[in-house]
């Protein structure tokens, strides 16, 4: 299997899907001439022309709504929102239109569209450019939200997102774009609603997604190498629909769980997972579930303050050590 970067895999997948289906087209700010703020769409304007790689003005409400309307007539728009933060300007078209049209009109017209956008903080981009708002969208029936942590998953999930007949929020991460990983050959897809156990373990489970799932995998691998603890990592990959079964089965096995998430703690993705576990795995829990999430503050600019607000590998390690059983499971 070839090692390919996240950025390259997204670019390749978009190209292949556009070649495969004439109805697939891209739209967003600076995705054409400028080749994308993060170069995900590099080369695609040249290859497909301005009909299918549509540079939009800075008008998220307008062009996201436009994508919804185009999808109603059977096109398959893939919209890039430059950063996750800017999606707030388009939320009415996502919440009240994309997510409602199929249901509200009695199943007469689906809305097959994808919104791709990178989240993530930590590059001194400060308060308005560093937010992780996935819980807003995972809350909404009618939407699907996926957040891959590896290039291989990104390829399979993006294919599913584009071929699916419903609106999908495909969440990327700024800090993962250069990450490389193995990408299987062939036209594989990954169904939504399937979590992946990226690392098997016995002592406790770390549940995560997107970049944090990648960090969790590294931390768990280190614990294993150092023969400290056997940590299982579950990458949920799909926030809505959520694969409750895989999470619950993992916790039934280990009896302990940590949710490692980049959004704010209160009302966040972790809160939903904790609720799921207490509903379906209550009798198997040997300790209270922990959440390792971002500090609840608008992200500050100044580096020391920013570092204090973000959580990373160290916080996860501390939580693991804190939660670990006194006697290891065999």
């Amino acid at each position: 299997m070839a090692e390919i970067s996240f950025r390259q895999v997204l670019n390749d997948t978009l190209r292949e899907e556009m070649q495969r289906d004439e109805n697939v087209f891209l739209m967003g700010e600076e995705i054409g001439n400028f080749e994308g703020s993060y170069k995900i769409t590099a080369g695609l304007l040249k290859e497909f022309g301005s009909k299918r790689v549509v540079d939009t003005p800075i008008a998220e409400n307008g062009f996201v709504g436009m994508a919804v309307g185009a999808a109603m007539l059977g096109l398959r728009p893939v919209v890039e929102i430059m950063t996750f933060n800017f999606i707030a300007l388009a939320i009415d078209e996502i919440l009240n239109h994309a997510a409602k049209i199929y249901y509200m009109f009695g199943g007469q017209t689906p809305v097959p569209m994808v919104i791709r956008t990178p989240g993530g903080g930590g590059q001194q981009l400060s308060a308005t450019h560093s937010q992780n708002l996935e819980a807003w969208f995972a809350h909404i029936p009618g939407l699907q939200v996926v957040a891959p942590s590896t290039p291989g998953d990104a390829r399979g999930l993006l294919r599913t997102a584009i071929r699916n007949n419903n609106p999908v929020l495909f969440l990327e991460h700024l800090a993962l774009y250069n990450a490389k990983g193995e990408v299987p050959e062939g036209d594989y897809t990954i169904p939504f609603g399937q979590a992946k156990v990226t690392k098997e373990g016995k002592d406790l489970t770390v549940i995560s997604y997107s970049r944090k799932a990648a960090i969790a995998y590294e931390v768990a691998s280190r614990f294993e190498r150092e023969n400290k603890l056997s940590v299982e990592v579950v990458d949920i990959r799909s926030l809505r629909p959520l694969d409750r079964e895989t999470l619950v089965n993992s916790v039934k096995k280990t009896g302990r769980a940590i949710i490692f998430e980049e959004d704010w703690r209160s009302y966040g993705v972790g809160a939903e997972i904790v609720a799921t576990l207490q509903e379906d795995a209550f009798d198997y829990l040997d300790a209270p579930i922990k959440r390792v999430a971002s500090v609840e503050v608008p992200l500050p600019y100044s580096k020391p303050l920013e570092l204090a607000a973000l959580t990373g590998a160290q916080e996860l390690e501390d939580a693991i050590n804190d939660l670990a059983p006194r006697r290891r499971r065999r």
């Binding site: 087209f25 009909k51 939009t56 003005p57 008008a59 409400n61 307008g62 062009f63 996201v64 709504g65 436009m66 994508a67 919804v68 309307g69 185009a70 999808a71 109603m72 007539l73 059977g74 096109l75 728009p77 009415d92 078209e93 009240n96 239109h97 049209i101 199929y102 249901y103 509200m104 009109f105 009695g106 199943g107 007469q108 017209t109 689906p110 809305v111 097959p112 029936p141 009618g142 699907q144 071929r163 699916n164 007949n165 419903n166």
Partner: protein, 356 residues
């Protein structure tokens, strides 16, 4: 106001003089008698349907909000008469009349208002969310301005595929003060899309007079900011609205240029059925009602000898019969089964549009 102060040497010309308003209305010679009578029937059907909707709402047969086209019938009928059968329509939540005039049966519309499975949105949408793919009404939308970017997207899809339909997007006067309106006009213009933005200026956004909410009281002028062909038309004149729509649709279809139309109309009653309408000046309401397009058009037809009193009575009876049948159909239709609550949240991979 293209028909005002125009007089033709044609014997069908009708001069209407009233204390409040003196104007000459023309029924052009080349108009087909049956077409004109049909416009009248449609306007009356919308009127009676809406009156019945209010009655059924007050009897709690209809829930939620219920916004009526009362007073806007000439605008509604002219709007639809100017379109081709393959053209797409997006509207706001005050859309019963548009659904009727696009040819959706009054039975399935009333059934939708009653929340029944036989409704045109299977009872999932209600009064504000009528839809029929078959009739190319791509939805009534209840978030002010939300439908405009969608309509632009539909026009984008038409241009993308190189087909020759036009999208027409109806909205109220208050909508023109919000961001989605301006973003949409800009997007439509830069992409040269086949779309007509159609503002129904019924002079009130709920209780706010249009000129108080908009820095520019002539709403069509907002199109000028985008170098868009823009026109204002008398919304009480069904032929003027139809002709303006035809011109606009021709430009949109032929030149792939967006067009903006403003029809000045008057809302005869409150914002919705539950609004007692206490905030408007009595004299003003009286003046507005004096321009009621339905009796005016009936008088024109009579005076042009295109119909007699008996003919009008027959239309009245036919319309009332249809509305009664719509209510009966709705009453007798089943509610959606509870087991279907979770249907239609997500479309299946093998989705095929059905014809209903």
């Amino acid at each position: 106001m293209s028909t005002e102060q125009q007089k033709r040497p044609d014997e069908r010309d009708v001069t209407v003089k009233r204390k409040s308003m003196s104007r000459v209305v023309t029924l052009p010679k080349d108009e087909d008698r049956d077409t004109l009578v049909d416009y009248y029937s449609q306007m009356l059907l919308v009127r009676r349907f809406e009156e019945k909707s209010a009655e059924m709402y007050n009897k709690a047969r209809i829930g939620g909000y219920c916004h009526l086209n009362l007073g806007e019938e000439a605008t509604v009928v002219g709007f639809c008469a100017g379109l081709g059968p393959k053209d797409y329509v997006y509207t706001n939540y005050r859309e019963h009349g548009y659904a009727i005039c696009r040819g959706i049966s009054t039975k399935t519309i009333m059934a939708e208002l009653f929340g029944r499975e036989t409704g045109c949105s299977r009872g999932r949408g209600g009064s504000m969310h009528l839809f029929s793919l078959e009739h190319r009404l791509l939805g009534g939308y209840a978030i002010v301005g939300g439908q405009i970017p969608l309509a632009v997207g539909a026009a984008f899809a038409i241009a993308y595929r190189g087909s020759d339909e036009v999208v027409v997007c109806q909205m109220g006067d208050g909508t023109t003060n919000g961001g989605p309106f301006f973003e949409s006009l800009n997007l439509a213009k830069i992409h040269k899309l086949p779309i007509v933005f159609f503002i129904v200026n019924n002079q009130y956004g709920m209780g706010m007079p249009a000129e108080k909410g908009s820095a520019v009281p002539e709403l069509y002028r907002k199109g000028h900011a985008f170098d868009m062909l823009s026109e204002r038309v008398d919304g009480n004149d069904v032929l003027a609205v139809r002709d303006a729509m035809r011109r606009a649709v021709n430009v949109a279809r032929g030149q792939h240029e967006p067009v903006l139309l403003e029809a000045v109309s008057y809302r005869l009653k409150g914002h919705s059925v539950i609004d007692p309408d206490r905030y408007r000046d009595e004299e003003e309401v009286k003046r507005g009602r004096a321009q009621d397009p339905i009796p005016t058009f009936a008088r024109h037809l009579l005076e042009a000898r295109l119909i007699d009193e008996q003919g009008l009575d027959e239309i009245e009876q036919q319309v009332e019969r249809e509305v009664e049948e719509a209510v009966r159909f709705a009453e007798e239709s089943p509610f959606p089964p509870i087991e279907s609550l979770m249907d239609y949240i997500y479309a299946p991979d093998n989705f095929e549009p059905e014809r209903r």
